[in-house]
């Protein structure tokens, strides 16, 4: 086994930015908007780097799919401690239509090519909230999956995953190679400070195209319309308790 971990990272609109929809309702405004690494992807990178620091694995390879700007996200991951990067170049309309199915095909192809022991991804992206890529990648590779991981431990050639599920925690033990998706409480991602970013400039980022991996990235989905969530209605102030009861009855609440 190579002892290599593949981590997928996605460049998304920064979590703190107020999202605006284009006037033609076709998509969200992305031009000139601050972008950063998906928070769950940061947690995925941190876990891989931690495993390397504990000498459980040998190499952390970080992958991102997208246009030139995806390189920034890869560099941030390299600054956090990843060893090398792979930039899968997808631009223009192809990038707009890139979804979990296409990315999981790419990740599966790379996992085989790089002889990966583990593929670690964020559980979902904060822009599309699909929560599909990890699961699809595992299915395409026919590998076991440990999703919503809040704790990971290697036990020989198996991996113990504590998963966050509705109503509590579930512990599973799965064979390697495997796909893991990171949940919020897996770890505390380190900040990529300036000195680390400078050092990371020496690390290599390979450039590939989906066609080089034999992956067809045509989308089977079409976005028809994007709308903002409904505006919250203004609250109404009432003078007395009787007034409140009358209003509640009117609204059919009691």
């Amino acid at each position: 086994m190579s002892g290599r971990v593949l981590v997928g990272v996605k460049r998304v609109i920064d979590y703190a930015v107020k999202i605006r929809v284009k006037p033609d309702n076709s998509c969200v405004v992305t031009d000139g908007v601050k972008h950063s690494m998906n928070p769950f992807c940061e947690i995925a990178v941190e876990e891989a780097v931690k495993m390397k620091e504990k000498k459980l694995i040998k190499e952390v390879v970080v992958v991102s799919c997208g246009p030139q700007q995806a390189m920034e996200t890869i560099r941030t991951a390299l600054a956090m401690g990843a060893d090398r990067g792979i930039h899968v170049e997808v631009t223009g309309k192809d990038y707009e239509n890139l979804g979990p199915l296409q990315v999981s095909k790419i990740m599966a192809a790379l996992a085989k090519k790089e002889d990966a022991l583990l593929v670690i991804l964020g559980k979902q992206a904060i822009d599309d909230d699909c929560n599909q890529t990890g699961q699809m990648t595992a299915a395409l590779l026919d590998w076991p999956q440990g999703t919503f991981a809040s704790e990971l431990s290697m036990e020989g050639d198996k991996i113990k995953v504590v998963r966050e599920i509705d109503g509590g925690l579930e512990t599973v033990k799965i064979n390697t190679p495997a796909v893991i998706t990171a949940d919020l409480r897996l770890n505390t991602p380190r900040y990529a400070t300036l000195p680390n970013i400078m050092k990371a400039k020496k690390k290599k980022i390979a450039n590939v195209k989906p066609a080089d991996l034999g992956v067809d990235i045509t989308s089977r989905l079409e976005v028809l319309r994007v709308d903002e969530p409904p505006q919250r209605e203004a609250g109404v102030k009432v003078e007395t308790v009787d007034d409140l009861l009358a209003r509640l009855k009117e609204a059919g609440r009691i």
Partner: protein, 89 residues
């Protein structure tokens, strides 16, 4: 001796400036405060005092990293975790 300290101070300033880009009240606000904080001590000559100030700067770096992490963690927790569903956390 003075040169090596000057390098450390410059490195600290650059690191803080880089961190300040994400400051909640705006990068420009942060930059202004950072500059005035450094300017206030620009005539300091005692190397020991300078080391102490640099150490304080390192402390501020840690505080900022903690601030950014907590902000992000709380935002993610609020968005993705329904308090009703969790049994005990």
């Amino acid at each position: 001796m003075a040169n090596h300290l000057k390098e450390e101070v410059m490195k600290l300033y650059k690191t803080l400036l880089y961190l300040g880009r994400e400051y909640p009240q705006g990068a420009a606000y942060f930059r202004g405060r950072l500059k005035s904080a450094f300017m206030k001590n620009k005539d300091e000559k005692d190397p020991e005092k300078i080391q102490k100030l640099v150490a304080r700067g390192d402390f501020v770096i840690k505080e900022l990293e903690a601030l950014y992490f907590l902000r992000k963690y709380r935002a993610m927790k609020k968005r993705y975790f329904d308090p009703e569903k969790k049994s005990d956390t």
